[in-house]
């Protein structure tokens, strides 16, 4: 076994290591130098396509056919996407391994599952006119640079919204890079453009010149977390600047005559320059080391390191993790190193093992932790084992130690080793795995159709397996040539009772593949009614979709189906569909009430809902702007009900309404054309209804007419509409009081009878403040008790009268009460009355 430090390289005081992941990657015929190579984050797939700008040897028509090839890191071809859609100007990956292809005309294709299915969208903002020059990608979006230096950013792929960023100067861009939104200060994507000798920083709102003169900068690279920026100047120097632009951290002179092909960050602590087969690794404080390869080398940056890819080998370059360094560095005297040594000695049955353990006893717990972590960072299974063995040994010596980390690490390593296997080709580092999360790893595996492994890992890590099953079933539906019944059977047998399995998704796939019957059968197994709806609509099973939507209770879904049906079906059959479904009808009604009254009219007509239809017309009459239109609508509304006896009352009211309106119209004409009569009383000008009677109710009309002393007209309405006597009396009273026709009120008090009694007269007049007239009604309130009448007199301020009232009733107590409240001459008078009252028996 080679030493773990064999591939270490010292750069300054730090160690870097090149781990050989896989060998014999590509066919030796493949001229990698003529290809553009991009790798998905977290050691994902690698996409290559031939760089059109470079000439290449003619190998017959077959080879000349352009394609984008997706490989695993180990060089297994996952998918070949034939390409004839135009010149590719941007190729990149998202965090969840979606492949994005941007063509010159601004069309973006998002290949979401590594299998050649894509969702297209366009950039817009003049991309088709000016052409896309290049693109830069981050974990969930990208920025495209157009021919006119406009920048378009897309920040999500599920609902892409291409946004134009601020517009930089139009001079040629030498090089550019982006700071992902998660790491920029403004929390939105920022673009660094090298134009001329200076740099511009562009975000959504402005393009700022950073005032540099040392340019032109040939390469710009942003560290994975945006904390550092690296620039390659024209004179062969590499500058490293802090992410907030506040200070220049280091400068390295490469002394190279030619500009390197690529410059990338290796994790966040070193910059890598690549020429054709030469690589410079520049660590902090400008110390550097150089590597040479046999063939053209491509750099694939990742969060915590860098993959180097040649025809022959795939290597992972990273800074040696601290724990690993602690354990393995030559001559390391750390407790962890001693623990490893002790474990080895134990294997050799050497007694020294115990001595060593006793030596590091105080820091043993830390040493165990370090060993566990170092094991995680190790790629070599042999060293993983020995580190874990050391940890286990250390653990056993300790009295109290939580083994959770140890157990977790063992599980994780098992998973990592499984996916690193060359047939799978996912050489995840421990940190990458932690950031990627196991769930995403599972979805990467299912996208590669590694169902068995995905299932095993899911079960091993206690993760849900529904997605894997669904994916498997979808794939089955796509590729299986068996007959539909047996596929359905197979799928149902395998997936039945598994929680979370969405049969809808499988059915959709089947439908998309043109297997309608299979889709219908599968859909029947879907327990969630709501989920079935969209697909059912797509399958033109409209009524079933409507029923399912109603079943789900979600009004949004029902509306959705209804909107769909409304557009598709002729009105009559649309009504037939909703007719038997009251919820649907109610929803159609309530939404149509605000938007589309014509539909409603038809609906009521077809359903023979006369009252509703007539009401609708009435409401239209109400909103009509001029009177004739209103009258017409009223007439229609009334006609609507004419055949039915049940609505006689309703119809009568409608006719009355029309009649009233017409009468009001004539009043208005008469009274306004003849102002002399209407302004008989000056106070009538206060009346709000003076200018218009139209729209008032019958009572209000009477009220206003009476107020303006048009008694005859008022009488006409009263008789015409058979306003009850009592109501009419009230109206008269209120109208007279509000117009302050006191004399007429007094006149009324002389009448013998009132249909509403006299008390209201007293109250209303008193409330209007006229005590004199109010008092006129007191004697008429014969139905009340003496005490009440006394109170009424008192309210009018007529104490003497109150006294007399009490006197007449021979009520001494009441009289004395009155006396108590009297003053001045009234008091004397009341006193006299008290005296007159015979002293009754007590």
């Amino acid at each position: 076994m080679s030493k773990p430090t064999a591939n270490w390289e010292k750069v300054g005081d730090k160690f870097y290591r090149r781990i050989e992941l896989y060998r014999n990657i590509f066919d030796t015929d493949l001229e990698l130098e003529n290809y553009n190579v991009v790798g998905a984050p977290y050691s994902g797939a690698v996409a290559i396509y031939r760089d059109e700008d470079k000439i290449h040897a003619y190998r017959g028509t077959q080879a000349a056919k352009s394609s984008i090839d997706v490989y695993s890191c180990a060089g297994t071809l996952i998918r070949r996407i034939n390409w004839d859609k135009g010149s590719i100007k941007g190729l990149g990956w998202s965090e969840d391994e979606k492949l994005l292809v941007v063509t010159e005309d601004g069309t973006v294709r998002c290949y979401y599952d590594l299998q050649g299915d894509f969702v297209p969208f366009t950039l817009g903002h003049g991309a088709d006119e000016h052409g896309v020059q290049s693109c830069r990608f981050w974990s969930s979006g990208f920025v495209a640079l157009l021919g006119n230096n406009h920048l378009i950013s897309v920040s999500r792929y599920d609902e892409p919204r291409p946004k134009l960023l601020a517009i930089p100067p139009p001079d040629p861009v030498v090089s550019w890079a982006i700071i992902p939104p998660a790491y920029s200060l403004s929390r939105s994507v920022e673009v660094i453009l090298a134009i001329g000798t200076t740099l511009y920083v562009v975000d959504a709102t402005d393009a700022e010149d950073r005032d540099f003169t040392a340019g032109p900068f040939r390469h710009i690279s942003v560290s994975p977390r945006g904390e550092f920026l690296a620039f390659y100047t024209d004179d062969g120097k590499v500058w490293v600047v802090s992410g907030d632009w506040s200070e220049k951290l280091s400068e390295y002179n490469s002394r190279a005559k030619t500009v390197p092909k690529d410059m990338q960050w290796c994790g966040s602590n070193a910059v890598v320059l690549a020429w054709e087969d030469e690589v410079h690794l520049i660590g902090p404080r400008s110390v550097a080391t150089k590597f040479y390869y046999d063939a053209w080398v491509h750099l694939l940056p990742d969060v915590d390191g860098l993959r180097l890819l040649t025809n022959d080998v795939c290597e992972y370059l990273q800074k040696v993790p601290d724990e690993t360094e602690e354990v393995f560095r030559l001559g390391s005297e750390t407790p962890a190193a001693n623990l490893l040594e002790a474990s080895n000695l134990l294997d050799q049955k050497s007694p020294k093992a115990d001595d060593l353990i006793q030596l590091i006893r105080p820091s043993l717990a830390g040493a165990v932790d370090t060993c566990v972590k170092a094991a995680g960072h190790e790629y070599n299974i042999h060293w993983q084992k020995s580190l874990l063995k050391a940890a286990s040994f250390g653990k056993s010596v300790l009295d109290l130690y939580s083994s959770d980390d140890f157990v977790d690490m063992c599980e994780t390593l098992r998973v990592l080793n499984a996916v690193r296997f060359y047939e799978i080709g996912l050489p995840l580092s421990y940190n990458q795995f932690k950031r990627l999360t196991p769930e995403k790893l599972i979805s990467r595996l299912t996208n590669r159709h590694e169902y068995l492994l995905a299932l095993r890992i899911s079960e091993y890590l206690h993760l849900p397996t529904d997605k894997i099953h669904v994916h498997w079933a979808q794939q089955k539906v796509r590729v299986s040539t068996a007959d539909e019944a047996s596929i359905c059977n197979l799928i149902f047998r395998k997936l039945h009772g598994k929680p979370g399995v969405s049969f809808e998704e499988i059915a959709r796939t089947a439908y998309d593949e043109g297997r309608v019957r299979l889709a219908t059968e599968l859909l029947n197994y879907e327990p969630r009614a709501g989920k079935q709806v969209p697909l059912l609509l797509g399958m033109k099973e409209d009524t079933i979709a409507l029923d399912k939507a109603i079943e789900s209770g979600d009004t949004d879904l029902i509306y959705h189906v209804l909107l769909h049906l409304r557009k598709k079906l002729p009105l009559a059959s649309f009504f037939r569909v909703i007719n038997s479904r009251p919820v649907a009808t109610a929803l159609v009604e309530s939404s149509a009430w605000y938007q589309d009254k014509e539909v409603l009219k038809d609906l009521y007509y077809q359903d023979d809902r006369r009252l509703d239809g007539s009401n609708l017309l009435l409401s239209e009459a109400l909103s009509a702007t001029d009177l004739p239109a209103s009258l017409d609508k009223l007439k229609l509304a009334s006609k609507y009900l004419q055949d039915s006896k049940d609505y006689a009352f309703h119809r009568q009211q409608l006719d009355d309404a029309a009649k009233l309106l017409r009468m009001q119209e004539t009043f208005e004409k008469d009274l306004n054309s003849n102002p002399g009569t209407s302004s008989a009383n000056p106070s009538s000008s206060v009346s709000p209804g003076n200018s218009s009677f139209i729209g008032l109710s019958a009572n209000e009309t009477v009220f206003h007419l009476l107020r303006q002393s048009h008694t005859k007209r008022a009488q006409k309405i009263i008789s015409e509409f058979r306003i009850p006597e009592k109501t009419a009396a009230w109206l008269k009273l209120r109208a007279l009081v509000s117009a302050r026709h006191w004399t007429e009120l007094e006149e009324l008090s002389k009448q013998k009878k009132s249909p509403i009694g006299w008390e209201p007269f007293f109250n209303e007049v008193l409330a209007a403040g006229n005590t004199r007239v109010a008092s006129a009604f007191v004697p008429k309130c014969t139905g009340l008790t003496v005490a009440e009448r006394v109170e009424m007199w008192m309210k009018c301020g007529l104490v003497v009268k109150a006294g007399e009232e009490a006197f007449r009733a021979k009520d001494r107590g009441l009289l004395e009460e009155v006396r108590g409240r009297a003053s001045g001459s009234a008091a004397v008078e009341v006193e006299r009355l008290v005296g007159l009252l015979p002293v009754g028996r007590r």
Binding site: T555, Y559, Q653, L654, L660, S697, E700, W730, N763
Partner: protein
């Protein structure tokens, strides 16, 4: 591990606030906020306007006013996406801004509480979907007080009973489901009413659907989420339809009367500034349009003074205010200060801000109470109250007709009249067709022919209908169980209490000075059986009172009573795997039966008087040795209603001319 208390209000508002601010943060730079009027109240409850400003909100606009301008590049819409009307309004405004705006806008739409397919479809048809970034603000329950959660769906009454649109049922189910997923299944769902039944069915349905889709969303609690909760006792769902009369009555609690007189929305009421004094406008208002003489006053349930006043019958509010004033005065008395030691003085000074706040609150409530007294002294108020009390106490309703006719002739506000008529109809299973027709004619003559529509709507809502026979064709013939029969209920549930004690209430009847709300009696028949049984049938031996009243066994009262009440009755138990149940009770600590929460959900709205009555029951349950074993009542609803808004939803606003 401390047990998770279900329905923790501060947690709910905190989450809603965080969600919104996060969404606002997502829109970079300054922005104009366009919100639906109905959302202004809840928003104000959750977030102060100054906080919104910190998150870049420049100016708020109302969607209904259609006046958002181009002063900012970013425009954020905050609207409910359930109704096509609002969606189209948003689309129109985007189009308008795009047409005449000089700058290119960035539009974001935050749908409340969820993004709907219909909204997407409509926006797409309008051609604006591609331009707006769409997200959702999952605001379901808004806490109005520590024990009151409201969905604040202002349209729910119109939707449910007039238009028969079940959107609010679905949203309620969603909201409750979210809580079930967090706190476990409601072990029992019991309730009354057709819509309530539908809600219960939906909940059960959603449960199976969530189980089916469970593992696709991995959150730690999910495997526990769908086992019966150990902290929740049951969910009681009441359909508003079951008990319309309680809404139609004039509420007589202080809070209820504030609502009746000034109307409260989202704990805020607008009062004429001459009443409460034109103090500086309250800081932190959203959408301050208070340049008029109206002043917005926060009715704060956390205010200690208001806490004692709000649920009390208005008759004793004067006394309470008096007492509070005297207490305040005595503690701030100047001559007392002289005799204090320095330590006492320091203590006093520390309390000063508290006193001042209390003083201000006292002043406010005194003037509010005075204003309400003015209102309650009017002839119209007393007359209509008299009619109400007579109807509720079971007098022959025809004796009240004269009063009602007179009130119509006096042209008092229409809602008051309609409340009285509907009250009669709903408590007496309709009205004699002849009388009904006469009233209809009177209303149309007095208030205008447009109210033909109002009356039709009321009939559709089953608030107004002729007795016995078929309605006017549109309403199907009355089936058995489609109307509530009050005559047996008055006796069997003791709905009318002649010996009501308002100052020291001993029964919920205090909230209406006599009438005990039917809805609350139903709740009592489930959670406070013993008390109710003793109330209905006081046992002959005083010693035996403590023992079980035979009526209190099982659900006897509930079963007996619900026979006479309209709508479906249901009682579902939700059980889960035994293992999971055990795991949950281990996690949350064993509770046995004590201190569980009972959730009472009012579908279609709850009145403030009912809230007060439930709080009264809640206090009784908490009492040591009470039969509730210290359980808590949580009131949830689609919104807060009152009689005016119930009949108001039917009233046709347009008129001829």
């Amino acid at each position: 591990m401390a047990p998770i208390t279900p329905f923790n209000t501060s947690e709910i508002s905190e989450k809603a606030r965080r969600d919104l601010l996060l969404l606002l943060e997502g829109v970079r730079g300054k922005k104009n906020l366009v919100l639906e009027k109905a959302l202004a109240g809840p928003l104000n409850l959750l977030v102060k306007f100054s906080t919104l400003q910190e998150y870049g909100v420049d100016r708020p606009f109302f969607l209904e006013n259609d006046n958002v301008d181009s002063s900012q590049r970013n425009i954020v819409f905050l609207v409910r996406g359930e109704k096509a009307k609002t969606v189209l309004a948003v689309a129109d405004q985007i189009k308008r801004l795009r047409r005449n705006g000089s700058i290119e806008h960035e539009f974001s739409i935050l749908w409340v509480p969820r993004r709907t397919m219909v909204s997407d479809q409509l926006l797409e048809e309008a051609g604006v979907l591609g331009e707006a970034s769409v997200s959702e603000w999952p605001l379901f329950f808004v806490p109005l007080a520590d024990d009151v959660l409201s969905l604040e769906l202002d349209d729910s009454v119109t939707d449910l009973y007039l238009r028969k649109d079940p959107t609010s049922i679905y949203l309620s189910a969603k909201a409750l489901m979210l809580h079930q997923q967090r706190h476990g299944l409601f072990p029992r769902i019991i309730g009354k009413g057709e819509n309530a039944k539908r809600l219960a069915d939906l909940l059960i349905r959603m449960r199976t659907e969530v189980t089916a889709g469970e593992s696709s969303n991995i959150n730690g609690a999910s495997f526990l989420g769908l086992t019966p909760s150990s902290t929740i006792d049951s969910l009681i769902i009441l359909d508003r339809e079951v008990d319309f009369p309680t809404v139609l009555l004039t509420q007589l609690t202080y809070e209820g009367l504030i609502d009746e007189v000034f109307s409260i929305s989202a704990n805020q009421t607008e009062v004429d500034s001459s009443v409460v004094g034109g103090a500086a406008p309250q800081p932190g208002q959203t959408g301050s349009a208070s340049t008029t003489m109206k002043r917005k006053v926060m009715i704060d349930p956390k205010d200690s003074l208001y806490g004692t006043l709000g649920d009390a019958n208005f008759a004793i509010v004067g006394n309470l205010l008096n007492k509070a004033a005297r207490r305040l005065q005595s503690s701030t008395e100047r001559n007392q200060l002289a005799s204090k030691t320095t330590a006492e003085l320091r203590d006093f000074v520390n309390k000063l801000p508290g006193y001042q706040a209390e003083q201000a609150s006292l002043k406010l409530h005194t003037s509010l109470a005075e204003e309400i007294i003015k209102h309650t002294r009017t002839d119209i108020f007393t007359r209509s109250l008299e009619v109400q009390q007579n109807i509720m106490s079971g007098a022959d309703p025809t004796t009240q007709h004269e009063s009602i006719t007179e009130l119509i002739s006096r042209d008092i506000p229409l809602p008051t009249i309609l409340r009285l008529l509907c009250l009669e109809c709903t408590t007496n299973a309709g009205m004699r067709p002849k009388d009904l027709e006469a009233f209809k004619r009177a209303i149309i003559q007095a208030y205008g022919p447009q109210h033909l529509l109002t009356l039709s709507s009321l009939e559709k809502m089953a608030l107004l209908h002729p007795r016995g026979g078929s309605g006017l064709g549109a309403t199907p013939a009355a089936k058995p169980g489609s109307v509530t029969n009050y005559t047996p209920l008055r006796r069997s549930l003791r709905l009318w209490d002649d010996e009501v004690n308002e100052s020291e209430p001993n029964d919920i009847s205090y909230v209406f000075s006599g009438y005990a709300p039917l809805s609350i009696r139903i709740v009592q028949s489930i959670i406070q059986k013993q008390t109710l049984a003793n109330l209905i049938k006081p046992s002959s031996h005083p010693q035996a009172a403590a023992q079980a009243n035979p009526l209190a066994q099982g659900l006897r009262i509930f079963d007996d009573a619900t026979k006479y009440i309209r709508g479906a009755t249901f009682d579902e138990t939700q059980t889960g795997e035994e293992k999971a149940v055990k795991a949950r009770s281990m996690l949350n600590g064993s509770h046995n039966d004590a201190a569980k929460t009972v959730i009472v959900f009012f579908l279609g709205g709850v009145t403030r008087a009912e809230i007060s009555a439930l709080r009264f029951i809640g206090r009784k349950l908490k009492e040591v040795g009470g039969e509730g074993r210290g359980s808590k009542i949580m009131i949830c609803s689609t919104g807060v209603v009152k009689g005016g808004s119930l009949v108001g939803s039917a009233i046709e606003a347009e008129r001829f001319g």
